[in-house]
Symmetry: C2
Subunit: 199 residues, 2 copies
Amino acid sequence: MDDDPATEILEATYRALCDRGYADVTLGDIAAEADTSKGLIHYYYDDKETLFAEFLDFLYDRYTARIESVEGETARDRLAGLFETVLTDEGSATGEQLRTAMLEVNAQAPYDEAIRARLARFDDLLYERVRSAIADGIEAGEFDDEVDPAVAAEFFVTAIYGAHARRAAADRSPDRLADVMTRYAERHLVADGPTEVPS
Amino acid sequence: MDDDPATEILEATYRALCDRGYADVTLGDIAAEADTSKGLIHYYYDDKETLFAEFLDFLYDRYTARIESVEGETARDRLAGLFETVLTDEGSATGEQLRTAMLEVNAQAPYDEAIRARLARFDDLLYERVRSAIADGIEAGEFDDEVDPAVAAEFFVTAIYGAHARRAAADRSPDRLADVMTRYAERHLVADGPTEVPS
């Protein structure tokens, strides 16, 4: 193990979850993936629920880092970068598998307060980054000042959730949805209206 | 039983699913709810998987009827009616419980071709109704003719999925999301731009 054992177990949880999905993954799978024993997992984490709560924090930290690393010369670039970060899979099968597994975790949220609280934190972060990109764009004159950043951000964040749900549930293409989202933002936020972007 | 037994079992499946969620519901729960025996359920449906596949068809037929009953004097009314039908819970706890249970079913879709195919049918129906309301509105001069009905419908259907996912996963208010959606449609589709509707 290169990392400390507790972190290595969380990394293994990530890989095992991608492979097997939330419903089927066991502590045995995670131990095998981490090349350690179930005993050592229990030493760090009381049970599967505790491990998954910690795992969600771990995932949230990664996700925060990815979202906070989105830069752009303009607010408009930053908004497009945010969409790209949350909607594309970087061409990797792992991203797709993780999203599928996370949908399962999300589906447990109504029954589990700890999961719900953590997902609400993801939600707050994403909402705030989208809202501030839109607000900055309005201030810089890039976006139409009739747009309400809070309402627009609420709408876009909702659509981002929908893109993930629809992709997994009904086999709709993620790329098409990311594309539609970006075209909508261009069409409806940009101060001079649609120019180079066809509706 | 008032209906034929097979239909009564599907009605009972609906109630049991609302009460217990997909992961926990058993054929025994459904038998108790239908006031019948597990034996009779097995007579009509081979196993839980077969029953749920039939149940999704049953649900789809109901949903189709609800969506097809949406009327309106204008295309704009019809679009608002569609949003209301799919986004509000008619003030009932049952609607909320069913949506929660359906999120669980959705989360199984990546692992189950039969569920995926049925959800894709839901998706096609909703998409087509939204698209045709927008296309009719453009033809009638109610909506801006620069709007592409296919792109706009894709976006709205995606946002509808997102509203359900976000409500359950992160405890966001459904009413607020339905409201945001309607305001967005008013703002961005209506031919003369936003008038009485604040952004």
